[in-house]
């Protein structure tokens, strides 16, 4: 060691410990360049919101409000802007998508993080991620040419519909049972936050399943869906498939972040895997799981191509609240009006109506994010 040491002077001066001037300038340039790149993205977002608000404001102040509510439908080129005509299909599609993606995505996440061994995981996770890489236009085509005629179409007429309704009702009964048990647990004052989370989750599931089951039964009973064309249900199932990987991978990341020491503690107390997953891992990962659902809902409500292709309506639509009919979602309304050579030709406010719908979408996702943040801060079990 001694032969490698540098001969240090008895006293050092500040000059000898200073940064070289050229080096100092380079540091400053790097710093400000990075600041500019950060500011550009913020600026672009701010500009988009500004233009959105400006054009939407024109629409809000100049539109004849009597023409935006209670009319027979969304006919923007004729100045009829019935807002519920495009909001209700958006909600239907999102609801169906979540009924498809929620249980499948969460189930896949629990399996991957708690059950799968390394070998299964090594091919199952990449396979899920490939599903995320399928372009939405491909899924839109799939929804239109396969889901619509084979899954949704037959409901109106034959036994598939009855079987589907029975399965859905069974599903509803199971979630009702879970909800009841969880609510009872919670009421008994055992003060277990997981019981509250479970109650909320299974109640939400119950409502969603009942809504779909009701629509399904109504469809069978009223002999809807006489043709195999696109419908909101077909689009919803397609969007659901699109969002499965989102729910699965974000939830799985959240569960994988829960320390193994908690799983060991639970196993050491005689808990089976399912008990550990539902009473330790899920409550500890709830913020990530809620985030996964919020992201998935935002993605579903903002998804355009699948609903545009398989939703069964374009340009204009009459009001519908049946998942088995064609309908126009907010995104499809914007896309179909803005595409083609005659894009946004119409009366005076047709162009601005697009911005208004865009603003509505923006507010939807913003509200969702705020609700999610509140919910998460309340029920989170931080470890």
């Amino acid at each position: 060691m001694t032969d490698m040491s540098v001969a240090y002077p008895e006293r050092l001066t500040v000059d000898q410990l200073q940064i070289a001037p050229s080096r100092r300038h380079r540091e400053a340039i790097i710093r400000y360049t990075l600041l500019v790149t950060a500011l550009v993205s913020v600026l672009v977002s701010a500009l988009i919101v500004w233009i959105l608000l400006r054009e939407a404001w024109t629409f809000i102040t100049e539109v004849v409000w009597a023409d935006t509510w209670g009319q027979q439908g969304w006919f923007p080129r004729r100045g009829l802007y019935d807002i519920p005509t495009i909001i209700v299909p958006s909600l239907i599609v999102t609801g169906i998508a979540m009924v498809v993606a929620g249980p499948l995505g969460l189930g896949a996440a629990v399996y991957l993080s708690e059950y799968a061994n390394r070998r299964v995981r090594s091919w199952l996770k990449p396979a899920l991620e490939i599903l995320a890489g399928i372009p939405s236009v491909v899924l839109g085509f799939f929804a239109l040419t396969w889901i619509a005629p084979n899954l949704v179409g037959p409901i109106g007429r034959n036994t598939f519909g009855v079987i589907g309704a029975v399965i859905l009702l069974g599903y509803a009964a199971v979630s009702a049972g879970i909800a009841k048990a969880k609510i009872k647990q919670y009421r008994e004052g055992v003060a277990d936050p997981s019981a509250r989370v479970g109650a909320v989750a299974s109640l939400a599931m119950l409502v969603a399943v009942f809504a779909v089951a009701g629509a399904w039964i109504l469809g069978v009973w009223l002999d809807f869906a006489p043709n195999n064309a696109g419908s909101l249900a077909a689009a919803g199932i397609g969007v659901g498939i699109l969002t499965i990987p989102l729910v699965a991978s974000i939830s799985e990341d959240a569960m994988a972040a829960v320390p193994d020491s908690l799983r060991e503690a639970s196993a050491g107390l005689g808990a089976r895997k399912m008990a550990t997953a539902t009473t330790v891992v899920l409550p500890a990962a709830i913020s990530g799981i809620v985030a996964a659902f919020i992201v998935a809902i935002s993605r579903a409500i903002g998804e355009t191509m699948v609903v545009f292709m398989a939703g069964g309506a374009a340009d204009a639509a009459r009001f519908t609240d049946s998942p088995f009919e064609g309908g126009l979602t907010m995104t499809a309304a914007i896309a179909s009006l803005a595409s083609g050579t005659d894009s946004v030709v119409g009366e005076g406010l047709t162009f601005q109506s697009l911005y208004f719908v865009g603003l509505l979408l923006f507010l939807f996702t913003l509200t969702l994010n705020i609700i999610a943040a509140r919910f998460v801060s309340k029920v989170r079990e931080a470890y």
Partner: protein, 290 residues
């Protein structure tokens, strides 16, 4: 489930062994009540043999210490007794371990049932991110118990000498407790299941000396109800708390770069620390090695 009714009863089990005097020279293990017998136990992680040919008995209602240098496989051995190694992928146990006369590794044995009888306390306190109450009630709840949880929680916390400190804030998060309190909570949580044996894997290594002393006192108080096995790095701790001691060491083979844990010697703690039979034990307990 049967444990539902059993759990509270086990906790309030009459203290049968209390009268047994702390004789200076207890009879050899074979003649006393034995909870575990292990014979030629080997533990493999994949192709790697972590522990080789371990054979010894664990006497009932005593504290047995497993000591030895790092990497000698003492924690691995401890985790065989509640089938915790099952959770590690590729881990394999050969040889025979019997628990009260039954082969623990019989294919019909459910590891979950084993763990309800053989509780575990870990090196780092690992309370769930739940309330103090929910932590203690966790085991009985997953076993299906719904009624009488308040009593189980109170008696378990009393046994773990934590009740006085937390009875006014049972619904507060367990993570707000100090490290020593968290570890006593983990002991209470293990006791609440109504176990027969407590396995403690270096329970004091993350604690300060005062908290350590409290845990050691606690072990002395509860050993009349439970059989306790403790892994410890701390020889003074082994000498202070245990009745019998097993000394493990690592058999290092430099030619193929393997490190396998082997059992050197088991005897009463008194004998192990004053007059061990094996030279390696003597070197270790006198501080000349490890």
């Amino acid at each position: 489930m049967s444990m539902t009714d059993e759990a509270p009863r086990l906790i309030e089990r009459p203290v049968a062994a209390a009268a047994e005097p702390q004789a200076a020279e207890p009879p050899p293990a074979a003649e006393r009540d034995v909870v575990f017998r292990s014979h030629d136990v080997n533990v493999y992680y994949g192709a790697f043999r972590a522990v080789r040919d371990v054979t010894f008995d664990v006497p009932k209602n005593e504290i047995m210490a497993l000591i030895g240098p790092s990497g000698c496989g003492k924690s691995t051995v401890l985790r065989c007794y509640n089938r915790m190694n099952d959770l590690i992928k590729d881990a394999r146990v050969t040889g025979a371990i019997t628990y009260r006369g039954t082969d623990l590794y019989d294919e019909r044995v459910d590891p979950v049932e084993v763990r309800r009888r053989i509780g575990m306390v870990f090196q780092k306190p690992n309370p769930f991110p739940k309330s103090i109450y929910d932590n203690v009630a966790y085991g009985p709840r997953v076993a299906g118990q719904k009624k009488g949880l308040d009593d189980v929680v109170e008696s378990s916390l009393r046994k773990a000498a934590l009740w006085e400190e937390v009875n006014d804030r049972l619904n507060d998060s367990a993570l707000g407790l100090s490290g020593g309190q968290q570890q006593r909570l983990c002991i209470a949580r293990a006791i609440a299941v109504g176990p027969d044996v407590l396995l403690m894997d270096e329970p004091c290594s993350a604690l300060d000396p005062i908290a350590t002393a409290r845990i050691e006192d606690l072990m002395q108080e509860i050993k009349q109800d439970y059989t306790i096995m403790i892994v410890t790095h701390n020889m003074q701790q082994a000498a202070r708390v245990s009745d019998t001691t097993a000394f493990f060491t690592a058999d290092v083979r430099s030619e193929n770069d393997t490190r396998t844990g082997i059992l050197v010697e088991v005897d009463t703690t008194q004998k192990m620390f004053s007059n061990p039979a094996d030279e390696r034990t003597e070197n270790y307990v006198t501080g000349r090695f490890g």
